[in-house]
Amino acid sequence: MSFQFHQRRSGWDVANYIVLAMISLTSMIPLLYVISISFTDPAVYIPLRFQLLPPKASIAAYKYILSTNSFMNALKSTSFITLAGTLCNLIATYTFAYALTKRGMPLRKLMIGVITFNLIFSVGLIPNYLLIKNLGLMNSYWALILGGLTNSWSLIVVRSFMDSLPKELEESATIDGCNELMSFLRVILPLSMPSIAAFTLFFAVGHWNTYFNALIYLSDSTKWTLQVLVKSLVIDSNSGGVGASGAAAALGDERVLPQETIRMASIVLSMAPILCVYPFLQKYFVKGVMLGAVKG
């Protein structure tokens, strides 16, 4: 910032600012609209009437959803998968990525080959499905946690992040008598914090948003994740044309509330944790990811 070159503010700049503001608005408007409708008081709700802001606000839809067992079960499942899954992801990814920075390690080339190959080729859906079945993980949260323990892209990005760390620090730890285990814990991990923050966000969002794997591996409806529940509430009760009672029936309840506000409130609840955590972690993810990706 010591020297900044000033140019005239032109009409070009103004147009640029306006278009950018409109793009941001386009990104936000669907979310704001859904949040706004979800707070509509059931007493003033009229189907098929367009409104931007609820004439009368109420949290009835939220109270209703939070009182249903199916939502609370889904919240519990999703929270468990997200917490346990993210922790396992971080451990498996950072330990393996660290090992891959050790150039003298036997079989390292082979491991990197397998990882790169998996980046571009996957055996397909059904062999993985049969594997989970044969391992006896059907209907278990561990199908989702172990099945996605780490992935090639994260390993490659984290490894190049670790490669970019100054080697001297680890060398001096080695001279002080640290083995790799200790220097990983005491030197590498503390230095990897920006990258860990970014990947915590990626892994957690990945688990929180799990839809398809949860759909095929968790058949027991009490183990459904939020995304599976929200899908059955919003999309199935819509496209199936089953009619108005779809959402309430999916929640196992017949109390009368406008379907639309329930659907929207369930969407908002399913996004809420991401919207809450995102502002605090977002400054890390660009740094944590780009350090690896640009070089690679």
Partner: protein
């Protein structure tokens, strides 16, 4: 550390040496164990599943006792009535996306790069990255709230104006455009990250010199901004071409309904629908394998073209 590196590199690999090196790296292996086990169990072991594509697999008979059928399922796939539809859907969606989605992150990065107020730029970045973190279930749900006939905003407005409603979501003619628009809304902002990172390395003095020489803003963008991200654009274009066989699986699955199946079926969803929902496991494996081998050859092809044309390859 560096000493052992040098040693192990210079010594020819022999069994005794190998054992010694394994021992030398015992702590590293300890750390790598979860990752190695994961790849062995979840990535390498399922490779045996490939053989299912060549036999009439029955879960009761198992892999060893199921009869071999050769390429029967692959023949069934390419002669299936949906096969040309799936090829068309995959190609059309990818070409629309290449033409309309691919340039947008570049455009947005250039626009963000022109912004001089750091605060305004940062707020904009935070907002446009956000949709990338929403699940496809949420994005498809938002689409319903915009376009469906019962709760869709557009149809509500039409209704209040006394006009007839439009069935956007069951109209095969609109399907491709709706899917690509969803991807644009969700990932354009996210796509700017890599370009903005490349642009952050550009020397500001280049712009100063250009202004001295009397270059207009447009010329600065053309000669400095776009020139400095050209290698990134080419790399991403090659990657994009390598993925021309891929269509977002969860997105397509969620957007499918009986009225749009002819435009919404792609190889991955077909493998799921036939293989798991209808229980034709072997056929499903064959469909998945067919698509993944095409995908693999596209990636190799794109990489080869990249190397031939003087760019460094990607893999």
């Amino acid at each position: 550390m560096s000493q052992t590196n040098a040693l192990s590199r210079n010594t020819p690999p022999s069994k005794a040496r190998f054992g010694k090196r394994l021992y030398r790296y015992r702590y590293v292996y300890l750390l790598a164990t979860p990752g190695i086990l994961y790849y062995l169990v979840f990535k390498i072991a399922p490779m045996w599943g490939i053989v299912l594509a060549f036999q009439k697999y029955s879960p009761y008979a198992g892999v060893w006792n199921s009869p071999w059928v050769g390429l029967k399922f692959f023949k069934e796939l390419v002669t299936a009535r949906v096969f040309p539809l799936m090829v068309r859907n995959t190609l059309v969606i990818n070409f629309i996306s290449l033409a309309f989605f691919f340039p947008l992150p570049i455009l947005l990065s250039v626009m963000l790069n022109e912004v001089r107020g750091e605060g305004f730029k940062r707020i904009n970045q935070s907002i446009v990255y956000l949709p990338h973190f929403l699940s496809w279930v949420v994005v498809v749900s938002l689409t319903y709230f915009l376009l469906s006939t019962d709760v869709g905003v557009i149809n509500k407005i039409l209704f209040s104006m006394g006009r007839e409603q439009i069935t956007f979501l069951s109209n095969p003619k609109l399907f491709y455009w709706i899917v690509v628009t969803q991807s644009i809304w969700r990932d354009t902002g996210w796509g700017t990250i890599i370009f903005l990172a490349a642009l952050s390395g550009v020397d500001p003095q280049l712009y100063e010199a250009a202004v001295m020489d009397g270059a207009s803003r447009l010329r600065q963008i053309w000669h400095i901004t776009l020139t400095s991200i050209r290698p990134t654009i080419v790399t991403l274009l090659i990657i994009r071409i390598g993925h021309m066989a891929d269509v977002g699986f969860e997105q397509m699955l969620l957007m499918q309904n009986p009225l749009v199946m002819s435009v919404a079926e792609v190889f991955d969803t077909y493998a799921f629908n036939q293989g798991i929902l209808r229980g034709q496991l072997s056929f499903g494996v064959a469909v998945g394998l067919f698509k993944n081998i095409i995908g693999l050859s596209l990636i190799f092809g794109a990489n080869m073209i990249a190397k031939r044309s003087g760019h460094s390859g990607i893999y």
